[in-house]
Structure formats: structure tokens, C-alpha cells
Point group: C2
Chain length 463, copies 2
């Protein structure tokens, strides 16, 4: 982490009319569906409202397509991203490599829209169903060289399933840095931090106190699973964590089933054209018992909107993440992803209702990157051929409430977790946000548009 | 095929301002990229103009998302379509089952926008890189119960790789019907028909003449590979076929390589966690030698625009299809698909140039359905794990002109052809078309918008 000179430049002429009004109170709500590409949008639509139904986001008046940009350590183009470099683009307008949190490939800090909003007197909130220290929220208020540096322990190095994860020694407070992601978050000045990540609050800092104690010292009211989110008093900033790391998801497949392999008979091993297949049995989406006691994303959103807007003449920036669309797709669990899409929809409905009462509120909904799941024909387009036809990956067949059968395919990786994919991603916006956007944007330009709307300037990170 | 009563209803109030001007001359150009979903759009962008570049279609001022609707023979929702039922939705505003050409699930004919355009005095053209009898062009000017009924022979039944294909006995002229797709096309009154399908022109009709002779009798000038498309005189309608069926594609992978399996060592067969992988070697896109002598989609588009617009005070409807984005994706040939995307871009550039000189010209670019290809990380997101990680499907690694490596995955089907997928699809439009559209449309509503623009009415098919 090196400090950067930040250069404030004048807006382009096309934006100058808007810029003149930027000093007045305004609010910006950015909703990120992690991995929420068009396959997942359609999965959600088909299940939640039916093939011919309309999601809440389908009624939004503006739609754009967003190209994701990722570079290698050497600055060469890469065609598939992760949540760290994409959230960095959305938060800072920069392009960086996979795994980096608001730092460029030379480890320079990239100033974020949330930091500039705080500097300009706006309130800031981050709400997520992941750990607050996960890549998407982290990239709005922390700067480290690797997403794995979530707590005071991990910043010095960690392992994941026995595999060493990158340390961020330059960032560690032991070495004079600003500390791990959780330490940077509680020192950021944000008024609202709600999500998972209790285990990182319980870690001990270099000062011998817990991160939770550090947060209390910074004035935070600490919330947990026992808190009634509907009656948290205004005034002090709030830091709520409701699970050790990622929050549990609302739905799961029947009996916790996920994508499964298509079994083939022994004859098929002799020839591709012989033998029979036995497909995974259909499943339904059912409540996930582990979800009990977890606050809904909408409950956290409601608290955040109240807390950020009360007695606030300046306005706020609020990032809301539905994180497990992606995380459940990695696990081949379509019902998990669909439940998270429902959570995103509920939070969007609250945001739209808030904007109805606070007219200068821009709402953007977008994804960070595309993901593995694909909706496949049920039955196969080739089912009339007398040969075994099946996906070589893992398949879940979901019975939908409208009486259809939605077949979801996961086939990007043979191992324990699916891959992200490289398609451009959707962006939805309300009428307040629309004038700042175009029908095709690079992800960094979404940042630029948000910054122009909220702050009246665009800031270019340069040395 | 049963005849329908067609009910003309008044426009909704929101469209009535436009409707009043619909009697004046106007042109509608609909460009369909078959299988041109967001994965393919991004593949094309990354290869043709680079990760941070802009395609011609990225500069279009309007973008929407289109939900595809498909039903089973019993009318139940299906979540993945084919080119027949989707082209039927675009052409007629109806919803039907896979394989049907402008007929509903009860085999009623659904009147098409092209037929109504002809009835209203507009000229009509169909241009495609597939056979003119293939599902997409067919659905604009023919009505049969199965897409396989392309010629006078096939309408009575055919086989494909030894598998019986549906006949369309009610549609056959032998049984008093209007005949096969090619017969219906040459009897449609369209002024321009350009694409593949020579083999269907050579078939003999019930009258003992070839379809080509029938077309000549209808006044068509017949064009072929020997024709100089730049000097075809105006006046007579034109019917050009430039290959037996689908036109050859412009590009292929190195040495005609397509998606390939990742080889694993014997140790891997003992345990998922052991052994090594040998990935497919990178490839480039190179000219396809079989393409030589094939007219470019842009050359056919140029001829069509000249032929449809010359001395025409009423206007025209032109459908242009880049068909092999889909067909090459079925064959796991990303370079084939990318070459077809380049062809679509060239035709779009011509259409935009034409619209620049003919202001009342609406241009829409859309797909019919999503397709199998996915852009995967190169290397895997999990490449630091000391276990074999690979796609269970077929992979092509394409070296891009900007120095990147784009990894394309095909993993929807173990067999000879990939499946379509179910994601909603993009729609791009110029400023003339934009007022008639919304940011989220069902595919049938794209038809309704086109019909409202061109014809000033919306027509509902009902019995």
C-alpha cells in the first residue's frame, strides 16, 4: 500500500449541468448481486414470478450492459474477474488484478467513492449477506493487497483448506500499515456496517484489544443476532455482525441436495452411443433450517436506510450486497442462489419505496461478474435421439411454483467449486440515476457515473 | 395449419402518438444474431476490439433485456427455446412450442409482421447466413408444424443422421396445403430472399417443376455464387442462394480445431485429488478455406438495402440473420462464432449508415435465445490448489489480437451438439426504434413494438 496523489479533474461538458446541482442533498444506493448475471436473473424470474412474470428489477426504467475489465499482475487483459477486482472497479474507477482490494497492480491505494463521500460530509453504509470483510464490501472502505487479509490474524498469513493464502505484510499494523480489512472498516468513519464476520471482530489487534473493542472506542454501537433491528436507536454509528462469516441463505434444495451427476450404465463406458442414463431426481426449494435467526437483507436494508437518512441534510452512499447468488452458485445450489435473488428483490423494493419519499435518490442494481450456472433444456433438445445425452457437469432439476421444470447446469470445474465466467453483466437504474449512465459502460465507468451524481466530480487515481 | 381470424385492435394510448404517423414511409431493419447472448457478445467484443473496446452495437443508444417464452405441446412453461419458437415470437407475437414455424400449439397459423407489411404495401426482405428455409427466416414468411419441412421432399418426412424428422402432412401441397417452407417463401411476395438453401430450390414440386422454376414463374431473378451482387439491377424481386444449406463461416480455429477435452493422467482416475492435467493447446482464429467464394452477410445486406429502398415511397421490413453464432457454438467452434459476430457487426454498420440517410429507419439487433459457450478464467480461479482442476466439458483457448488468452467452455451436452440455454437475451436499438421499446420486454413484445412502429397497429392472433 502506497499513498497516491489524487487528482480532481473537471467534469466533461456533458455532465456539467448535473454537476452544478451536486452540492445539494442526495442519496446513492448501489445494490450488487454477486454473480448476478443474465442466467441468474432469468433463474430468479422463472422461479419467483414465472416465465412470463416481472421481477421488481424488470420494472426499473433503465437498463445497461456493463463490461468487466481485469488485468494480470503484468497488466495484460484477463477475461474473467473475481469479486475483489470488480468491486475495486465499482468503488474506485480503477482496473486491477484478481484478489486486490482497492489497490492497483503496483499496490497503490485507489481512493473509493465511499471514502470521498465521507470526506464530503455524506454518511456511508455497507450492508451485505457476506462477511463485512469479504471482497465486495471491503473494496469500498479498505485497501489491502489481498482479499484474504480479513482480520488481524489473516493479514499476517492464513491457510484455506490447507492451502497458504496471501498475507498483506505491508498493510499490517505490525509494520506500520492501516491493518487488516476489519480494522480498516472500523476506522473508516462509516455510519452503518451490517453483515457477517463476527469471527473477525473477536480477533485481537496489535494493541491487545479485540476489534470489537476497537470499534466501540470509535463510537460504534455493536449489534448482533440478539438485536431487534427494528428498534435500534439513531445517533451512534452501528456495526452489526450476525454470523461468524457469511450469513446462512434462506433456501436450499430438497433435503439439502445440490447439483448432481447424471449416472450412466456400464454399457455407456464401452461407447458414447450405448447405454442408459439416470438423471438427478427433480427437487424443490425449501426453507434452509440453518437460516433461522438470520436477519433478512431487507431488515438490514431497512435499518440502514433509517439510520443513514435520519436528520441528514447532506445525503448518503449505501452499498447493499446480496452475496450468496455467487457463493451458492460456486456450491451448485440453485435454490440457495434463488433465495438470495429474492432477498435482493426485497431490498430493492425498500430502496424504491425510500426513493419515492426522497426524490433525489439514485438507485443502481448491478452484478460484479458472471457465474457458472446455466439454464438447460428439459428435456434435452436431442432427447429424440436414441443415444445417452447428458451434461458432463452437475445438474439440478428444480420444480417451479408455476409447474415447470428448470434444469440448472454447473459444468465449469471438476473440483470443489465452480468458476466465474466472463460475460458482460446487467445494470438496472431508476430515473434519477439514468441521466448519468449510458447503455454500454465499462465497470469503471459505473463508478465514474456514481461519483459524478453524488460528488459532482470525477476523481482520477494517478501517481 | 388452420386459418385464423385476425383481430386488429387499437393501440394502447401510450403508443397512439406514434401510430398517427405510421402511414408515412418508414423502414424497419431487424438484425438477429442466432444464439447471440451476453457470453457471445462479450466473446466477440474481447476478440474483435479488445477487452476495453467498443463494438458497433455497443455504441447503439438503447439497450433492453428480452425474456424468451416457450411452451410445451400442452402449453406448460419451458425454460429453454429453439430458433423456431423464438423466431415465431419475434415474427408473430405468439408463444409456441419448440420446432414450430409461425404456428401455435394447435397448429393454427400465426400471421407474421412480414406478411402484414406486404399486405400494407411495404417491401419485405429476408437475408441470412443459414439456409433461407432454416427456422429463423422461415418463421417470417411460412407456416408449418415442424421446422424440418424445408422442401417438397422433407414436408413428407425426412431423416437426420438416421433419425426420423417430423413431416408436415397437413401443410403439403399433396394434401391441399401451401407446401413446404421453400414453396411458401417463393409464393410469399417478398422482394428479397438471400441466403443458403440451393438444394431446396432444386427439388421438384407436385407440379413437376423445380422450386427454382416456380420462383422464376413468380417473377424472381435467381442469383447464385456466380452473381456479382454489386451489379444486380433493380426491378424484379430477387432470390439468391449461395450454398446448398448453411453458408460456410469466415473463420475457424487453427487447423480446424474446436473445443477439446482436457486430458488427465492415469493417477487422476484413482482419485479426484491426484494426477496431472494436459490442457488443450492455445489456438488462433484463421480464415476458413471453405468460406472462399461465399458472399459476406454485409454484401447481401448491401444488395438488400439497395433493392428494397430504390423507388420505394412506402418503406420496407428487412430481417437480417447472422445464423452461425449459434450453429458454430453447437459445434464448439468459438472462432466460427466470432467470425459470424464480425459479419453481424459489418451488416449493422451498413444498416446504421443507411439509417443516417433515411431518417425514419428503425434498427433493432437482438438474439433469439442463449447458447452454450461460456468464457472461463485462464488460468482457473483455483489454479493455486495442488489438485487437478479442469472443465468437464470441451475447452478452446483462443489467443486474442490484444495479447490475451480467452478460454471458452462448452459443457452442456456430452454428445454431438451443445444445447441452447435459457438466459434472457440482449436487445440493442437506434434512436428511431427506442420510443417503441421498454428496458424489459418479452420476446412477443418485441414483435408488438415492431408492428406498432411499422404498421401503426398491433395485431392479436386469436381464433
Amino acid at each position: 500500500m502506497h499513498k497516491l496523489l489524487c487528482l480532481i479533474i473537471a467534469l466533461t461538458p456533458a455532465l456539467s449541468v448535473h454537476a452544478e446541482t451536486a452540492a445539494s442533498s442526495r442519496n446513492l444506493i448501489l445494490i450488487i448481486g454477486d454473480g448476478f448475471d443474465d442466467q441468474h436473473v432469468t433463474m430468479g424470474r422463472n422461479y419467483l414470478v414465472g416465465m412470463s412474470g416481472k421481477l421488481t428489477l424488470d420494472a426499473m426504467p433503465y437498463r445497461a450492459s456493463v463490461q468487466v475489465e481485469t488485468v494480470s499482475e503484468q497488466g495484460q487483459p484477463l477475461y474473467v474477474a473475481d469479486s475483489a477486482n470488480t468491486a475495486t472497479s465499482l468503488a474506485t474507477g480503477g482496473i486491477t488484478q484478481i484478489g486486490r482490494i482497492a489497490t492497483d497492480i503496483e499496490d497503490n491505494d485507489l481512493t473509493t467513492i465511499a471514502e470521498r463521500a465521507l470526506d464530503s460530509g455524506f454518511r456511508v453504509g455497507l450492508v451485505t449477506t457476506s462477511s463485512l470483510t469479504d471482497a465486495t464490501p471491503a473494496s469500498f472502505l479498505a485497501h489491502v493487497s489481498a482479499r484474504s487479509c480479513e482480520g488481524p490474524e489473516e493479514v499476517l498469513g492464513s491457510t484455506y483448506y490447507g492451502i497458504p493464502q496471501p498475507a498483506c505484510l505491508d498493510d499490517a499494523r505490525d509494520n506500520g500499515g492501516p491493518g487488516s480489512i476489519i480494522e480498516q472498516l472500523v476506522n473508516s468513519g462509516a455510519q452503518v456496517l451490517l453483515g457477517g464476520g463476527t469471527k473477525f471482530l473477536e480477533q485481537t489487534t496489535i494493541d491487545g484489544e479485540t476489534v470489537a473493542a476497537m470499534a466501540t472506542g470509535q463510537g460504534y454501537r455493536i449489534l448482533g443476532r440478539e438485536t431487534d433491528l427494528g428498534s435500534v436507536p439513531p445517533g451512534r454509528p452501528i456495526l452489526g455482525t450476525f454470523d461468524e462469516e457469511t450469513l446462512e441463505v434462506r433456501w436450499r434444495g430438497t433435503d439439502a441436495r445440490v447439483g448432481e451427476v447424471t449416472e450412466t450404465s456400464w454399457l455407456h463406458h464401452l461407447s458414447d452411443y450405448l447405454g442408459d442414463t439416470e438423471e438427478p431426481e427433480p427437487m424443490s426449494c425449501e426453507p434452509n433450517p440453518d437460516y433461522e435467526g438470520t436477519p433478512a437483507l431487507a431488515s438490514m436494508t431497512d435499518l440502514a436506510l433509517r439510520h443513514l437518512s435520519q436528520d441528514n441534510d447532506r445525503g448518503f452512499f449505501l452499498m447493499i450486497e446480496s452475496a450468496s447468488i455467487d457463493k451458492q452458485s460456486h456450491k451448485r445450489n440453485p435454490c440457495g442462489s434463488i433465495g438470495e435473488i429474492e432477498q435482493l428483490e426485497e431490498s430493492l423494493a425498500l430502496a424504491l419505496s425510500f426513493a419515492g419519499q426522497h426524490p433525489d435518490t439514485a438507485i443502481l442494481v448491478t452484478a460484479d461478474h458472471a457465474q457458472a450456472a446455466q439454464i438447460l433444456p428439459e428435456p434435452s433438445l436431442y432427447s429424440s435421439y436414441p443415444i445417452p445425452i447428458y451434461s458432463p457437469g452437475l445438474v439440478a432439476r428444480i420444480a417451479t411454483p408455476e409447474g415447470g421444470m428448470m434444469r440448472i447446469n454447473y459444468a465449469t470445474n471438476n473440483g470443489f467449486s465452480e468458476e466465474h465466467t466472463g460475460a458482460n453483466i446487467p445494470l438496472f437504474a431508476n430515473d434519477v440515476a439514468a441521466p448519468w449512465l449510458g447503455p454500454f459502460l465499462r465497470q469503471r465507468e459505473v463508478h465514474d457515473a456514481m461519483s459524478a451524481f453524488l460528488l459532482g466530480t470525477r476523481e482520477i487515481n494517478t501517481e
